[in-house]
Amino acid sequence: MPPAHQPPERPPLVELRQVHLSFGSNHVLKGIDLNVRKGDAVSIIGPSGSGKSTILRCINGLLTPERGEVVVGDTPVHALRTEAERIALRKRIGFVFQQYNLFPHLTVLENIVLAPVRILGVARETAEREARELLAKVRLADKIDAYPGQLSGGQQQRVAIARALAMHPELVLFDEVTSALDPETVGEVLSVIRQLVEDGMTCLLVTHEMRFAEEVSHEIVFTDGGEIVERGTPRDIFHAPRSPRTHAFINGLRN
């Protein structure tokens, strides 16, 4: 997916400016700048502990940065103080977790309709119809009455994606969604994400699947030690990195 013919003047949907965050004495984010334009897929890559997941959690307000600005659409996330304001933001942002985090006491269908019905106030029949469509889309229509514990990791992760999409988000954040999966089920999850990107959903992915990131992303961001070292097109980052740190990371993976 060559990003060259994407018009660059599209406004950013997500914007991070000089975001700093520490956990105790551990300075996790050291001035992160990031832009995601509407309809783009951006992948964040980098070594473990470089603050990738923390960036995602700052965007949907699960974490609040100590300094800097996080803006989603026209919402200043860093300035939100009340639970109600954060809830309004989170309704617009889908989040898919590494460990799926499905609700184990509910069936697949109930997992998907719970938030639309209870939070958005969607009529139950409408929510169920949409849930069926989403399950067909992630190719799990036959698992509608299963419990999460009866599904494989890849199936659970696809349900989690359907659950996020049921809220009609403007943006979906993927937090290492294939890292906990068996190798043989990684592909089925990635193909669902690929379809999503092709449909024009704005996606921000933290991933260790380099080949996949190269293939679907409009932009790659390389983080290391709480900083953004380099950003660019997949071709630039993977084949002509300017920073020696990026070069070392990419080559370290190849060897």
Partner: protein, 264 residues
């Protein structure tokens, strides 16, 4: 005979590896078998006293059911308050739990009996406040503190990832508690809740000490009136059996509930 019986009764504590229900069945069956040689006359007297005992047992059932109902309702609320992020909500709830968990039940029953008035005046209306209700409150207070701790523990045992997932879908804290966390707690809460119910049921006999005529008190009345050793043994054995017949179905019912909530 009496020594022999107390030996049998002790058996469950000395051999904890066997399932308690099986042991109880064994103990009760053995004891009744040993009593088979009792004179028919003694058994006939017991039969005469049965309605009296049944009336006593009704009081135990009433007190224990009411105490666990009040205790569970109050405890669920206090347990959730204990976890509140607001200090002026959490601290009093935790104080309440500490006070009522660390007080002997008998002391609380005496306390509620002698502190509360015997009637309540509502304008010109006088409402009787009988001793059995005071004893029920004396049992409900520690029960609510225990239920609060059971709920608090269960809520904390649910992984924080469930809170994150719910928050990311736009749930607030109380909505997460209501729709995601508490439904998952039901299964974890049932076994300790059942233990509590059994404990409360057994503690209802303490109500006899503040003059409530329940099963133990009825048996004592019967024993004193008939005044025969063999009858005394027989009637206390009957008390034991009646308590077992009350508690055992509850255990079975809880097992059924646990199975129902055993999602995969």
């Amino acid at each position: 005979m009496a020594t022999e019986q107390s030996m049998t009764v002790k058996a469950p504590w000395s051999a904890p590896s066997l399932p308690p229900t099986v042991l109880w069945f064994g103990v009760v069956a053995l004891a009744w078998a040993a009593l088979a040689h009792f004179q028919r006359e003694t058994v006939a007297i017991l039969w005469q006293w049965m309605p009296h005992l049944a009336a006593g047992l009704r009081m135990n059932v009433l007190i224990s059911a009411l105490a666990i109902a009040i205790g569970t309702l109050l405890g669920a609320i206090v347990g959730a308050l204990e976890l509140s992020h607001r200090r002026w909500v959490g601290a009093p709830a935790r104080g309440y739990v500490q006070v009522f968990r660390n007080t002997p039940v008998l002391v609380l029953i005496f306390f509620t009996t002698y502190v509360f008035p015997f009637e309540i005046r509502l304008g010109s209306l006088y409402l009787a406040f009988p001793d059995w209700i005071k004893a029920t409150l004396g049992l409900a207070l520690p029960a609510s503190a225990h239920v609060a701790e059971i709920f608090r523990g269960a809520i904390l045992s649910i992984t924080s990832a469930q809170w994150d997932a719910s928050a990311s879908l736009g749930f607030g804290r109380s909505q997460t508690l209501r729709w995601v966390i508490l439904p998952q707690c039901v299964k974890r809460v049932l076994p300790p809740w059942m233990n509590l119910y059994a404990m409360i049921t057994m503690s209802t006999t303490l109500a006899s000490l503040v003059g409530v005529t329940e099963l133990l008190e009825s048996a004592k009345n019967a024993s004193n009136t008939v005044n025969r050793t063999d009858f005394t043994v027989l009637i206390y054995l009957a008390v034991l059996t009646l308590f077992f017949l009350y508690c055992y179905p509850i255990t079975r019912f809880t097992t059924r509930l646990e199975r129902k909530y055993a999602f995969h």
